[in-house]
């Protein structure tokens, strides 16, 4: 009892003896935990990669251990001032002191090479951290990881599928470049090729029973032509329809929405038709029924109507209302195209002969606009609405034809006028020459 009293009486001393090491221990544990859980967030401007012992030591190693050091000049992380330990943890300072074991101390957060399935979470430590990412770019997105989790790739990754694509499969490992860098595998002109690395590989796709023709089909499409031949980096590639980090195959129910993200007017007309007719056209009519999907070919006027290239006859049969509408639409479009061509040819002819037809050409633009409008209005499946545009176009084209005829008449008048003027001029010259002869014969006075 006395002992216990003594103990209680001296309690503050004892508590102090116990508490101090405990607090120190807790602080150390906390620091170690923090180091393991949090990336070593060095702000831009911290030690340059080449200044760390990671690079100086690994540069003397071989193969896979040497490889990362070769990209210090082109990897976006290195270029932004981050270094090996910012992702992999560890203590480069200890390495600099000649202690590689201490440098690779897992207690100090060294992770080594992350397991493939954990790569998305590994990258997300920074890329999903708004506060951290803002140090580099206040506008940068931080939703890649959450999007990835909704993608087929992400879902399979979550299920433990080691083959499912992770960040490094698309972006690379130690030579990651900005998306805006044309050398990046995710730059618009390289996206399809990058996706095709897996999706065009029969061995890889066999496991998922997926087709491998998409990449080859896409390369033949109008979209690919615009991207590769036209150099239009806004032309759609894989991720524009499927999403990038949240890549999923668009379902039948949202194909129109996907196409409509660029072809807005056509999609709106299509939806209006659905609402107006109170029909659910989703299962039977979607963009890809007429236009295809990966191998979208340039639309032609022949797709409308009942000719050999018609897509209407895929659903409509002779004598049904849609079939008759298709015939009238085709006739109107072909009529407008023909008149437009005639007007252009006549104006070209007049212009080559020197008649100024600039204002007539400008007026003819109305016919071209209406042709575009009519072609778009085909997606409304509304014959009356379509015919209004087509007829406006035909009227404008007819005005162009008339202008071309007027220009040709003007040209004939000019030539006739010139002929008459030259006759008069030659007559005057002859008369003057005769007069000269007459005055020359006169003796000088």
């Amino acid at each position: 009892m006395r002992n216990s009293r003594l103990l209680l009486r001296s309690a503050p001393g004892w508590w102090l003896l116990l508490a101090v090491p405990a607090v120190v221990l807790l602080a150390l544990l906390g620091a170690v935990h923090a180091a393991a859980a949090e990336p070593q967030h060095l702000a831009p401007g911290g030690p340059r990669p080449l200044e760390t012992s990671c690079v100086s030591c690994h540069a003397q190693l071989d193969d896979a251990l040497l490889e990362p050091t070769r990209h210090t000049g082109d990897d976006i992380h290195f270029l932004k001032g981050l270094s090996c330990h910012d992702c992999h943890g560890g203590n480069p300072a200890a390495g600099a002191d000649g202690d590689p074991e201490a440098a690779h101390d897992r207690k100090l957060g060294w992770t080594g090479k992350p397991v493939r399935g954990q790569v998305p979470a590994f990258c997300a430590r920074c890329h999903a951290d708004a506060a951290f990412m803002k140090r580099f770019n206040p506008h940068t997105r931080i939703d890649q990881y959450s999007e990835y989790r909704t993608s087929v790739h992400g879902r399979r990754n979550a299920e433990g599928d080691e083959r499912a694509a992770v960040c490094v499969d698309c972006h690379g490992v130690h030579s990651i470049r900005a998306v805006s860098d044309p050398r990046s595998p995710v730059y618009p002109t390289r996206v399809a090729e990058t996706c095709g690395t897996c999706h065009a590989d029969e061995n890889r796709m066999r496991h998922y029973s997926l087709a491998t023709t998409q990449y080859a089909e896409y390369r033949k499409s109008v979209h690919a032509r615009a991207l590769y031949e036209g150099g239009d980096t806004s032309a759609p590639t894989c991720n524009d329809c499927h999403g990038s980090h949240g890549a999923v195959p668009p379902g039948v129910e949202n194909v129109a929405a996907v196409c409509g993200s660029c072809h807005g007017r056509e999609a709106t007309l299509f939806r209006e038709t659905e609402a107006k007719l109170k029909l659910d056209l989703t299962p039977c009519i979607q963009c890809m029924v007429c236009h295809g999907n990966h191998a979208v070919s340039p639309p032609t006027d022949g797709m409308v109507g009942v000719g050999a290239d018609s897509t209407c006859t895929g659903c409509h049969v002779e004598e049904d209302k849609g079939y008759k509408a298709a015939v009238r639409m085709a006739d109107s479009i072909h009529g407008l195209v023909e008149r437009l061509r005639e007007a252009s040819d006549r104006l070209d002819l007049a212009e080559r002969a020197g008649v100024e037809v600039g204002p007539d050409r400008f007026a003819l633009q109305e016919a071209r606009d209406q042709l575009v409008e009519a072609r778009v209005l085909v997606h409304s499946f509304d014959l009356e609405r379509f015919l209004i545009a087509a007829q406006k176009g035909i009227a404008a084209a007819d005005a162009g034809v008339a202008a071309g005829k007027r220009a040709a008449a003007e040209l004939r008048t000019r030539r006739a006028g010139l002929g008459l003027s030259l006759v008069i001029i030659v007559a005057v010259i002859i008369a003057l020459a005769l007069k000269v002869r007459e005055v020359d014969r006169k003796p000088a006075t």
């Binding site: 005057v428 010259i429 003057l432 000269v436 020359d440 000088a444």
Partner: protein, 370 residues
């Protein structure tokens, strides 16, 4: 029987004569004689240049009725002239073609005077006023070229004014003076318009008047070779009355020129092109009017640096020196006093200049045609 009273026309003529004494001019025309020899043909070039200048004045005034000198309206107003104004296409095309023929006629006239040595004492000032008129015609061409405000004219003016900017010391000032700023803009168009329709015509009127007065005072020059041959043969100099013999011949040339202009305007109307877009990149194949092509080509062929100095600057200085030499030709030629080597050297220089201009112009045009 009382004497017959004169009709109203003779009375009006008498009334005018009493107040102006214009019959002196008629007397002068009647007395004036033009030498006849194997080079007489070249005398018609002066009259032809004057005729084409008259065409320019007449068609230019008509164009002024519709032309609007602003970047937003210039192209459209010329388009309006070409398409909506009755015979507007003809007037504009004749104005453009005639401008080119005028420069051609002026060059041929100048070279014919040079090679026939018609600038000799006492015609130094006639030559000087004629050479200045040639420069004025080039300035008319340069300033008029921009006025339709089409793509070709816009970029050619950009290049042309840039050349002026290469003049040492005053280049930057001249560039800004011509452009009305650092770039070719609507302000440049307004300046060029002012020069084309006010400043240059005023100067041209004075110079043409002086030139004609001097020609009238000194008469036509007979080439030294012709004079020498005649004095050796001892024959009397041949000549014809200016009025009507020479004037009728002049008229034949003018009417023929009118026919050529009509044919060119009807068969090859002057193109308008597309409206200038200052923000668009310069199209390929930009080149100035043919009469500046030789200078353009020379500057292109010059190395970027010659003896440490900028090649373009030296080229521009060279053209300036050439223009000065042209003005001083009568004072450089001492053939009158001592015909011989100096005389031949000057002639050789003249032919070298003609050959140089022809070759440089051909280099510009031949590849395009090929």
């Amino acid at each position: 029987m009382s004497p017959a009273t004169p009709g109203p026309v003779p009375r009006l003529m008498a009334w005018i004569e009493e107040r102006t004494g214009l019959s002196v001019l008629g007397e002068l025309a009647r007395k004036k004689r033009v030498p006849r020899h194997r080079h007489t043909f070249w005398y018609y070039l002066g009259g032809m240049t004057l005729f084409l200048f008259g065409i320019q004045v007449g068609t230019g005034i008509l164009l002024l009725l519709y032309y609007r000198p602003s970047a937003s309206e210039a192209f459209e107003s010329v388009q309006f002239i070409m398409t909506r104004v009755p015979f507007g296409w003809l007037i504009r095309s004749i104005h453009s073609w005639s401008a080119n023929l005028l420069v051609l006629a002026a060059f041929v006239h100048m070279f014919s005077v040079f090679f026939l040595k018609a600038y000799r004492k006492p015609r130094e000032l006639t030559w000087l006023s004629g050479a200045l008129l040639l420069f004025l015609m080039l300035a008319f061409g340069f300033s008029g070229y921009l006025l339709p405000w089409n793509t070709l004219a816009f970029f050619a003016t950009q290049v042309g004014t840039q050349v002026a900017g290469a003049v040492p010391l005053v280049g930057p000032f001249m560039l800004r003076l011509l452009r009305g700023g650092d770039q070719v803009t609507g302000g440049t168009l307004t300046r060029f318009y002012g020069m084309h329709v006010a400043v240059l015509p005023a100067l041209a009127t004075v110079l043409v008047g002086a030139h004609l007065l001097l020609v009238q005072k000194h008469g036509m020059s007979v080439p030294p070779a012709v004079e020498k041959r005649r004095s050796e043969s001892g024959g009397a100099p041949l000549s014809m009355p200016f009025f009507p013999n020479f004037l009728l011949r002049d008229l034949i040339g003018w009417v023929a020129a009118l026919g050529i202009l009509a044919a060119l305007a009807a068969l090859f109307p002057w193109e308008l092109g597309t409206k200038a877009d200052p923000f668009a990149p310069a199209p390929a194949g930009i080149r100035p009017e043919w009469y500046f092509a030789w200078m353009f080509q020379t500057l292109k062929l010059l190395p970027s640096h010659i003896l440490g100095l900028e090649g373009e600057m030296l080229g521009v200085l060279g053209f300036g020196a050439g223009a000065l030499m042209l003005l001083l030709v009568p004072f450089l030629d001492r053939a009158g006093e001592a015909p011989g080597r100096w005389d031949r050297l000057l002639l050789a220089c003249g032919w070298a200049v003609v050959a140089f201009m022809a070759v440089m112009t051909l280099i510009v045009y031949l590849p395009a045609e090929g």
